[in-house]
Every structure is written in structure tokens, then in C-alpha cells.
């Protein structure tokens, strides 16, 4: 079990990458590309796991996880967290755009100025 350190490092590294990803401003094109690449990677891993179930067990043993199912569970958790972060980021972005749209509508519907000198909210 002394090679458990490998899976620990791998999981912590994955979470650290998410943290960095959260702080970076990031361009739209790069994010979209990264999302699609990780989606393809996920499919590839899933296919391999279906075709060679024994392989998952061997990888699990190599990185210090008891069974292949445990490794899959860890992988699922990492993917889930990553997906949640990406979704909330997209949400914030959409909220900002929605705000601009709603404000434009509000100002377009607002009555004109009467021009009685200084102005307040």
C-alpha cells in the first residue's frame, strides 16, 4: 500500500488544476476547446474501460488503489467537481450578460429626462 502516494498526488493535482482554472480569466475559445478535449478524453477512457476491464484493475493496483471500481469512483468524483466548477463559471458569465440585457430593456422603457437640474438616484 506504500504506492498509495501516487493516487493521492494524482487526485490532489487534479483538484489543484481546477483551483487554478477557477482563478484564471481565460478566453472563450480556449475554454471551449479544453471542455471538448476533456470530453473526448472521457469517452476514450470509458471505451477502454469497457473493452479491457482488467486494465482498470491493473492501473488501480499500480497507483495504490485496491480495486478498479474504486479508481472509477475517484475518477467520477474528479469529473463531477470539474463539471460543477465549469457549470457555475458559465452561469456567472450568463448572469452578467443577462444583467446587461435587462438593464438595456429597463433604460429603453424608462421615461425621458425632464431636466430639472441635478440628478439623483
Amino acid at each position: 500500500m506504500d504506492n498509495q502516494i501516487i493516487i493521492k498526488i494524482a487526485l490532489i493535482a487534479a483538484l489543484a488544476i481546477f483551483a487554478v482554472f477557477l482563478m484564471l480569466p481565460g478566453s472563450g475559445a480556449r475554454h471551449l476547446a479544453l471542455r471538448r478535449l476533456s470530453m473526448i478524453g472521457l469517452f476514450a477512457v470509458a471505451v477502454v474501460a469497457v473493452v479491457f476491464p482488467q486494465l482498470i484493475n491493473e492501473i488501480a493496483n499500480a497507483v495504490g488503489v485496491g480495486r478498479g471500481t474504486d479508481l472509477l469512483l475517484y475518477g467520477l468524483i474528479v469529473v463531477f467537481i470539474g463539471n460543477s466548477l465549469a457549470a457555475s463559471r458559465r452561469n456567472r458569465h450568463m448572469e452578467r450578460e443577462l444583467t446587461q440585457l435587462a438593464r438595456a430593456v429597463a433604460l429603453a422603457d424608462a421615461p425621458g429626462h425632464t431636466g430639472r437640474g441635478s440628478e439623483r438616484r
Partner: protein
């Protein structure tokens, strides 16, 4: 609320109220009091409402100074008037109200601690030295109103404004104001839980 606006119109003729998806009769109250009402089609939050109000007001080219205040009657008109007077005569871009500069305001114990913590956080993170973190009474000139584009839709806008004062190197000052804690404003005011939400909004942009 109608009385708040009716009294305010006496001093400040142009008042904009932003209706942020309210379901009670406050729109009718505001219009009856003599304010212009700008209506958000959906609920966006207090920060978004402030920005909408400022943008509407800035469309009037004759408007020189802009005051933000809460419509629940917790701010005093004489304080707002004094702040605009200072803006007109002193080399300042923005004046922020502070309830801690004199002994008039009596906030609760927990509220006081939370506000003081927020002040420390803002002083450290923005470099702008203030004594009160979340005071809704502010007076600014056109340069400040243009520089401060509020993007925080909810309660974190107060910290955002302070940060933008620092980023844009606006000339700022504080003015002692009296916050009147009525039952209405207490009920509508921020719960301490909001501290968690504000920090979340500030960290995860």
C-alpha cells in the same frame, strides 16, 4: 416610502427609483412621492439596481452630482445635502457616508463586529482607507459615476465600489452620517449570513 421620497424631492428635484422586480405597492408609492421609476424586467439585485439608476441619471447631461441612498428611510436628507455641498466645494470625486465617524448611530453588537471585519478586509484588499464598509449613502460627481461600473449584482457591490475607487484613483472622503434603524430597515437589512455570500461573490468572479 412615499414620505421618504416626498421629503427628498424637496431637496433633490430629480429622484430615480429602480424597481427590481418588486411585488408590493412600492412602485406606486415611489411615483406618488414624485420619483421617476426605472423598472428591471427581472429581479437582479441591489448592486444591479444601483448601476441602472446611475446610468439612467447620467443620461441627463445637466446632471453634475449623483447621490445613492436607500429608499427605506434609514438615511438622513441633511447628510446627503451636506455631502453634495462638499463635493461642489472641495476637490473630491466621491464622498462615502460613514456611521462610525460620530456617535449618532447605534448599530447592534454583531452588526458592528461584522462591519468592522468588512472594513479591515476592504482596507487590506483595496488600499482605500474607510471606516464603514457598507453604507448606502454616497455622493459622487460624473467622473466617479462613470468610473464606477458596478458588476456585482448583489450585496458585494459595496466592496466593489471601494475597490474601484482605489483602481481609478478617485479622490475620496468620508462624511459622518446617521443611520436610522427603523423596524422596517432592520427587517429589510442584511443578515450576517450575507457575509458568506458577499465573500463568495468577491472571490469567485
Amino acid at each position: 416610502m412615499r414620505d421618504v421620497i416626498r421629503q427628498a424631492v424637496e431637496v433633490f428635484p430629480n429622484i430615480v427609483c429602480v424597481d427590481d422586480g418588486s411585488t408590493d405597492n412600492s412602485v406606486a408609492e415611489a411615483i406618488a412621492g414624485g420619483a421617476v421609476v426605472v423598472r428591471h424586467p427581472i429581479n437582479l439585485g441591489q448592486g444591479a439596481a444601483l448601476q441602472t439608476g446611475l446610468e439612467y441619471a447620467m443620461r441627463d447631461p445637466s446632471a453634475e452630482f449623483f447621490v445613492t441612498f436607500d429608499s427605506d428611510g434609514q438615511h438622513g436628507l441633511e447628510d446627503a445635502f451636506a455631502m453634495v455641498e462638499r463635493l461642489a466645494h472641495e476637490p473630491l470625486d466621491i464622498i462615502i457616508g460613514s456611521r462610525f465617524l460620530d456617535g449618532r448611530t447605534k448599530p447592534g453588537k454583531i452588526k458592528k463586529i461584522v462591519l468592522k471585519l468588512a472594513v479591515v478586509f476592504e482596507n487590506v484588499s483595496t488600499g482605500v482607507r474607510l471606516t464603514d464598509a457598507h453604507n448606502g449613502l454616497r455622493a459622487m460627481n460624473r467622473a466617479a459615476a462613470s468610473a464606477i461600473q458596478i458588476e456585482q449584482n448583489r450585496m458585494a457591490h459595496a466592496s466593489e465600489i471601494v475597490a474601484k475607487i482605489g483602481q481609478n484613483k478617485l479622490r475620496y472622503a468620508e462624511h459622518p452620517v446617521h443611520i436610522i434603524y427603523t423596524d422596517y430597515s432592520r427587517a429589510k437589512g442584511q443578515s450576517v449570513w450575507n457575509l458568506v455570500n458577499i465573500l463568495n461573490d468577491l472571490i469567485f468572479k
